[in-house]
C-alpha cells in the first residue's frame, strides 16, 4: 500500500499552508477526489432521479445506483443485490430493523455493555413498546460467552425468540468481538444476529456468507463515502419477512385509495427520492477502497503500536493495553488529569491534530464506569507513521502544560 500515492488523492492532506493530522476517522473519514469527482459528475451531467422516469438521464442514474449496489454486494460478499438496502447511516439501518422486525412480547434482545447509542436506543424504545426483554453481555474481560449461552438457552427453553444486536468493532476502544463464535452459538439456539459494522467494515474485509451474518449495518461516510450514506445488509429470506415502516414513493408497485402492492426488496425499504449523488459517490468509494481493504488493518495496527508505545506512560488507555487488540483506535485519558476536551482542543490549536473528545456516543459505558469521557485518536489508510510520531511528540508537550 503506497501511502504517499494514496495521500495525493486527498487534497486536504496536501495543503502546505494548512497542514493537518486527521485522526478522527472513527467519526468520519476523508473523501478521495475520485468520490467527489463522481458526485460532481452526477450533479453537473445527469442530475435526474432514478428508478422512475424513462429518459436517458434517469436511466443513467438508475444504472449508477445499481452499480453501487452491486459493488457493495461484492464488497461484503452478499448473495444478491437485493440484500443491500441504501440508508442514510448505520443508525437508520438499525432503526429500520428495530421497527420492521416482527417482534412479539417476551422476545429477548441481547446486546453488549459497550454499544453505541445507535445500537442501544432503538432497542430500548422497541422493548418498551412491545414488551420485550433486554439482556446485556459484559465485555470487561472479553465477550462473556458463558452468560451469552445461558441467556440463549433460557430464552429457548421459554419458547422466546432471541435477537442479538451487537457491535462488531467498538468505536470506543477499538476491540473486536469474536463474531464467528457468537454467530454460531446464536444460530445454534435459533437466534438472529445483527452486527453494527460501522467500525469494522471500512477497516477489514468482511464476508457475510462466510460468517453467516443475518443483518449488518454500516456507514458510507466511514469508508471514504459521502456523508448521509449507509447500508443495511440482510439475508434475503429475512428481509422479506420484515414489515415496512417508512413507506411512500418507490416502495410500491401499485396502489388504490385503500390498498398497496409493495415492491420487492430492497426497494420496499427505500421510500422517496434517494440521495443519488451520495449513492453514486458511495459506489466510487467502494471501488477505491477495495484496492486497499486487505492491507488497512495491518497498517493501522502499526500506527497504533507507535501511539501506544510512545504514550503508555503518560496516558491511561481505554481497552486492552495490547495495541493489536484495538484496531486503529487509541482512546485515552491523561494521567495528569488534564481534561479530555482540553487535550483535544490544545492538540487542534497547537498542532493542527484533529481528534475526538467526549463520550463518543457510548454514554452508557462511561456512566457505568464513572468516567467523564476520553480523547480518541482513530487512524485510517492515509495516515502515516510520521503523523503517529508527531502525535506522540505533540501530545507529550501538551500534557507538560499541566
Amino acid at each position: 500500500m503506497n501511502i504517499s500515492k494514496i495521500r495525493e488523492d486527498f487534497p486536504i492532506l496536501n495543503d502546505p499552508k494548512k497542514p493537518i493530522i486527521y485522526f478522527d476517522n472513527a467519526c468520519m473519514t476523508l473523501k478521495p477526489k475520485q468520490v467527489v469527482e463522481k458526485m460532481e459528475q452526477y450533479y453537473y451531467e445527469y442530475p435526474a432521479c432514478g428508478g422512475r422516469s424513462n429518459h436517458r438521464l434517469a436511466k443513467k442514474v438508475t444504472d449508477e445506483c445499481n452499480n453501487t449496489r452491486t459493488s457493495l454486494r461484492k464488497f461484503i460478499n452478499a448473495k444478491s443485490d437485493k440484500e443491500i438496502i441504501f440508508t442514510r447511516n448505520t443508525t437508520e439501518g438499525i432503526n429500520l430493523l428495530a421497527k420492521s422486525f416482527q417482534f412479539r412480547k417476551d422476545d429477548v434482545i441481547i446486546s453488549t455493555d459497550k454499544e453505541h447509542n445507535s445500537n442501544l436506543l432503538p432497542w430500548q424504545m422497541i422493548a418498551r413498546e412491545k414488551g420485550l426483554r433486554r439482556e446485556r453481555i459484559s465485555t470487561k474481560n472479553g465477550f462473556d460467552m458463558t452468560s451469552f449461552e445461558q441467556i440463549l438457552k433460557k430464552a429457548k427453553a421459554n419458547a422466546n425468540r432471541t435477537f442479538v444486536s451487537i457491535v462488531h468493532t467498538s468505536n470506543m476502544d477499538g476491540t473486536t468481538l469474536p463474531i464467528k463464535e457468537i454467530i454460531n452459538t446464536a444460530h445454534a439456539y435459533g437466534a438472529v444476529v445483527m452486527l453494527d459494522g460501522a467500525q469494522s467494515v471500512p477497516h477489514n474485509p468482511i464476508d457475510v456468507k462466510k460468517f453467516d451474518i443475518d443483518f449488518l449495518a454500516f456507514s458510507g461516510h466511514k469508508m471514504l463515502g459521502p456523508s448521509g450514506t449507509g447500508i443495511l445488509y440482510g439475508k434475503e429470506e429475512l428481509l422479506k419477512k420484515l414489515s415496512t415502516y417508512n413507506v411512500g414513493g418507490d416502495t410500491v408497485n401499485d396502489t388504490t385509495y385503500d390498498s398497496a402492492e409493495f415492491a420487492d426488496i430492497p426497494e420496499r425499504f427505500e421510500a422517496g427520492l434517494q440521495d443519488y449523488g451520495g449513492i453514486i459517490g458511495l459506489g466510487a468509494a467502494v471501488e477505491y477502497l477495495k484496492r486497499y481493504i486487505d492491507d488497512i488493518h495491518e497498517h493501522e495496527l502499526k500506527l497504533n503500536k507507535i501511539l501506544t508505545e510512545g504514550l503508555k506512560h503518560q496516558v491511561d488507555i481505554l481497552g486492552p493495553e495490547d495495541s493489536k487488540l484495538r484496531s486503529g483506535i487509541f482512546s485515552f485519558n491523561a494521567k495528569n488529569k488534564m481534561e479530555h476536551h482540553e487535550v483535544a482542543l490544545m492538540l487542534d490549536n497547537y498542532a493542527n491534530i484533529m481528534v475526538r473528545s467526549g463520550r463518543h456516543c457510548v454514554h452508557s459505558w462511561f456512566n457505568d464506569n464513572k468516567i467523564d469521557g476520553s480523547v480518541r485518536a482513530s487512524t485510517y489508510l492515509y495516515n502515516t507513521e510520521e503523523e503517529a510520531k508527531q502525535f506522540v511528540e505533540k501530545l507529550k508537550e501538551v500534557l507538560k502544560m499541566r
Binding site: H341, L345, M346, N349, Y350
Partner: protein, 322 residues
C-alpha cells in the same frame, strides 16, 4: 472568568457584527449559570483557554505553559483592566456630552472625540482676552452682587434665576469676538435670563476705551444703546471723539445732547464705579462673564456658556425643547 471577558468583548463586537452574537450569547449563558451557582456546561471556557494557550504554545512553549498555569490569574487581571477601561471610556463619553471635553470641564487635555481641540477652554494667556498689562495672573474671580440695575446695560427678565454679567471693553478685540455669542445667548434664553453689561475699559491698552464707554452711555440716554454698541464693535480702530459723534449722527441721535453728554463726562463716575467693581471681583481681563457665581473668561464658544446656563436653569442635556 474568561467567560465574563468573552461576554464583554463579544458583546461589544456583536453590536457591530452578527457573527459575534452567537458566541456572545454562549458567553452570557455561561456567566448566567456561574452567577446562579451552576456549572457552565457550554465548554466555552475550555475552548477559549485552549485556543489562547494552544496558540501561545506555538509561539513560545514557556509562555504557553505560564499562561496555562496562571490562566485564571491572567483572566482576572485582564478583566479588571477591561472594567477600568470601560469606566474611563464611559466617563469620557459622559463628560464629552456635558462639557464638550472628555476630561471634564475646563480641561485642556487631549480628547479623542474632539481631536482638533475646538472645545478646549482658552487660557488667559492664550490670546482670547485683553488684559491689564502687568496683571496677567489669574486672580480668584467672584461674581459681584447684582445690586440695583443702574450702572450697566441690561436686557432680559429682571426676575430670572440666571443672571449673566459681562465685564467688557468696547475697544477690546475679544469683547467684540464674544459679541455674536452674547447675542445668541440673549435670543436663545429669552425670558429665562437677565444679561447685564458692565464697563471695564482697558484704558492703558486701548486709549479710546473710556471715551467709547462714555459714548455708549450717552447713546443709552437716547434709547439707542444696542445699535450704538454695534457701531463701536464694528469700528474699534475708529473711536476718536469726532468718530463717536459721527456714529451718533448716523443713528439719528440728537447731536447737541450727545456732545453735551460726552463733553461733561456725565457718566465717567459710573464707568469708574463699574471698573472698580470689576477689580474687586478679581477681573484683570476682558471679556469676563459671570453666570450666577460661575465665571467664564475670554471669548469662549457658545457651547461652553450653554452648558453652564443649562445647568443653572436645571435643563438636562436631552431636553432639547427647553
Amino acid at each position: 472568568m474568561i467567560c465574563v471577558i468573552a461576554l464583554i468583548v463579544f458583546g461589544i463586537l456583536g453590536i457591530f457584527s452578527a457573527s459575534y452574537r452567537i458566541i456572545a450569547k454562549e458567553a452570557f449563558n455561561c456567566v448566567f449559570k456561574k452567577v446562579t451557582f451552576r456549572k457552565c456546561d457550554t465548554g466555552l471556557d475550555t475552548r477559549l483557554k485552549s485556543q489562547i494557550t494552544g496558540r501561545l504554545l506555538k509561539f513560545s512553549p514557556r509562555l504557553g505553559k505560564t499562561v496555562y498555569k496562571y490562566f485564571e490569574v491572567f483572566s482576572w487581571i485582564f478583566l479588571i483592566l477591561i472594567l477600568v477601561t470601560l469606566f474611563f471610556v464611559g466617563r469620557g463619553i459622559v463628560f464629552y456630552a456635558m462639557y464638550g471635553n472628555c476630561n471634564g470641564p475646563n480641561s485642556n487635555q487631549f480628547c479623542i472625540f474632539d481631536p482638533l481641540g475646538t472645545n478646549k477652554p482658552s487660557d488667559v494667556t492664550s490670546g482670547s482676552t485683553c488684559s491689564i498689562p502687568g496683571h496677567i495672573d489669574n486672580k480668584t474671580l467672584s461674581a459681584p452682587p447684582l445690586g440695583e440695575l443702574k450702572n450697566g446695560f441690561y436686557q432680559g427678565n429682571t426676575e430670572a434665576k440666571v443672571v449673566i454679567i459681562e465685564f467688557g471693553c468696547y475697544s477690546c478685540h475679544y469683547t467684540k469676538l464674544a459679541e455674536p455669542t452674547v447675542r445668541k445667548i440673549i435670543d436663545r434664553y429669552d425670558g429665562q435670563i437677565l444679561y447685564v453689561y458692565k464697563d471695564f475699559p482697558l484704558s492703558t491698552t486701548h486709549i479710546n476705551a473710556l471715551r467709547a464707554s462714555e459714548a455708549a452711555h450717552c447713546a443709552l440716554d437716547q434709547g439707542k444703546y444696542w445699535e450704538y454698541r454695534e457701531y463701536l464693535f464694528a469700528n474699534q480702530d475708529q473711536q476718536l471723539t469726532e468718530e463717536l459723534i459721527g456714529y451718533a449722527s448716523n443713528l439719528g441721535l440728537n447731536i447737541d445732547e450727545f456732545k453735551q453728554c460726552l463733553n461733561t463726562k456725565k457718566y465717567q463716575s459710573v464707568i469708574e464705579e463699574n471698573y472698580q467693581e470689576g477689580l474687586n471681583s478679581g477681573i484683570t481681563v476682558t471679556p469676563t462673564f459671570f453666570i450666577n457665581d460661575k465665571s467664564v473668561v475670554g471669548a469662549k464658544e457658545y457651547k461652553e456658556f450653554k452648558k453652564i446656563i443649562d445647568k443653572e436653569l436645571g435643563i438636562k442635556w436631552w431636553q432639547f425643547w427647553k
